[in-house]
């Protein structure tokens, strides 16, 4: 960063504020993006510091005294199985992030590929892809994920299989979003100019259309991360998660299974619930903020 700034010269910096300053200025206008990013950053910091302070092993059963309320020794308390909940929160957040980013990236990638094929080449391929999306839309996706997750051998259920299960039925929305954007983009003049000057199909897709879609792709990605986190959380709350792992949904599932509130262990289910609310809330705010960035019409109506 420093070398680039020096190379571009001092005079230029006086006229043109740096990218970072511009970014912060934009954040000041786009409040929901700013708050969302801030909360997400705080969660990342918590996870990193948590993983450095407590050993991740403490997140697994029989690592600590059982059923301890929050205290100086265990700031977040411990659960029925002897997990140190501070460690469990850090590891659980980390695993949630892995599932979310992995499933989000995969889902967006599938969405981009199918959306482009569908919109750019059209014809029977378009009809097929759209048809599949239409038939799958009325089917509650979570329930099909329940079927898939329950047929797996319990030993096969890991963080990665969770991500794959979630992504398997969640690419329809990004596909439709990208498809509709490519459809409008295809008719723009710069694409016609490129076509007339003999640029190949792939050249047009990668050099002309894709860069212009980046805000939409970013929004679709965050949307995918949101739905992946959401879906994996629901599966885990139903008891279909990797049971040994301290995934946030698993903790709530086991807390309810042991009657945590009836027995007065209030900290056990409430901590993962608050963590999950912060994750989903920050992602929802970021989606709203990106929407404003990608969609100037929303900006004007405010």
């Amino acid at each position: 960063m420093a070398t680039i700034a020096l190379a571009s010269g001092v005079e230029e910096r006086v006229q043109q504020p740096s990218q970072v300053t511009l970014f912060f200025r934009y954040l000041r206008r786009n409040k929901s993006l700013a708050i969302g990013l801030a909360v997400l950053l705080a969660l990342v910091l918590f996870t990193v510091i948590g993983l450095l302070v407590v050993s991740p092993k403490a997140a697994y059963p029989l690592a600590a005294m059982t059923k301890q309320p929050p205290s100086w020794k265990y700031p977040f308390g411990t659960d029925f199985f002897g997990r140190n909940l501070l460690a469990a929160m850090a590891v659980g957040l980390w695993q949630t992030a892995v599932i979310g980013v992995l499933a989000g990236a995969l889902g967006t990638l599938i969405g981009i590929i199918l959306g482009f094929i569908s919109a750019y080449f059209g014809g029977w391929l378009d009809n097929l892809i759209r048809g599949i999306c239409q038939v799958l839309t009325p089917i509650p996706v979570l329930l099909i994920q329940v079927v898939v997750a329950s047929t797996l051998d319990k030993r096969d259920v890991t963080i990665f299989t969770m991500a794959l299960i979630v992504v398997m039925l969640a690419w329809m929305w990004p596909t439709l979003v990208i498809r509709s954007q490519v459809l409008t983009m295809k008719e723009r003049q710069f694409v016609s100019v490129a076509k007339l000057s003999g640029v190949s199909d792939f050249g047009i897709i990668f050099k002309e259309i894709l860069p212009n879609l980046l805000p939409f792709i970013a929004a679709a990605f965050v949307g995918q991360v949101f739905s992946a986190v959401f879906a994996s959380f629901y599966l885990a709350v139903l008891g279909l998660g990797p049971l040994r792992e301290p995934l946030l949904g698993n903790i709530i599932w086991s807390a309810q299974g042991q009657g945590a509130f009836f027995n007065g262990w209030w900290w056990w289910p409430i901590e993962p619930a608050i963590a999950m609310i912060l994750i989903l809330g920050s992602l929802a705010l970021i989606i709203m903020g990106l929407d404003e960035l990608a969609n100037p019409r929303v900006r004007r109506s405010e």
């Binding site: 329940v146 079927v147 629901y234 139903l238 008891g239 409430i270 989903l280």
Partner: protein, 333 residues
Amino acid sequence: MATFRLVVRRLLFLIFVIWAASTITFFIPRLSSRSAIRERFAQLARTGGFAPADLEKIIANMQHQFGLDQPLMQQYGEYLWNVVHLDFGYSLNKYPSTVLDLISQALPWSIGLIFVTTILSFIIGNLLGAIAAWPKAPRWMRTVATPFVLLTGVPPVLMGVLLLFFIGFKLKLLPLGGAYSIGIVPNWSWEFALDMGMHQILPALALILGSVGGWVLSMRGMGVTIQGEDYVNFAEHKGLGGLTIFRDYYLRNALLPQVTGFALALGTLVTSAIVVEGIFGLPGIGTVLQLAIQSNDFPVIYGIVLFITITVATLMVALEFVYPLLDPRIRKN
């Protein structure tokens, strides 16, 4: 004639969706190496009762009874035929009862909860959203919607945990779970009805608070676009009263897309309700599903999934037929 063709097309689409869902629930379990019957009897054998040598015989016999030794395509055909009859087979865990028995025992609980909460959150959310976007509404009325918008990111399950903590655990105002207090025998008295009602408040609140924000947001967006329309301005200049404009010109037009949104949200609403039921331990379909997952009762899992899918898809198509009743423009064409 055109309407007739549309109805037939949508019904064919519905059949296609149900076929797709049943095909998924038929083939996915068969791709897995798990055998529900083998696991069930291995479990029984561990608790004792019969010799391991007999185990294979019993499994083979059971597989014959469930038709699992027939060719795959024949099984598939029979499966589809059974789905048409809403016959989802027997529960493995509660053997003599069928999956449909279990569903129909739990269904009244779930229907009551889902019906009431969905309708209430739709009405409350849309009214609040419409008022929030209506410039002539009093200021205090418009700010009522804000806290609900902030709750949009909180799904019903998490809302349930929060409500359990604050209202059930800290304030001790409402019970912490179950359908009625432990030790009470269900009967037809007012006390029992009151007790049952108290147990339903928190789950219902969780579902309503968890979904109202979404309606507020989308309705507010719709409202902002509609109040700029010429016909609203025209109605104002004609000197119509504020309430008439709000009800007949503004709300009615803004509600139309919301009905489509309602149909699309049905799946999410039902799945949320299922998970919430599990959290609160209500004897609805969600709890049956959770118990089935815990005990590896596969026919029950697949049966419930298929049953809900068919119901949701049918309701979605049915809502499409309601649409012309609400919009005279569609009825004319």
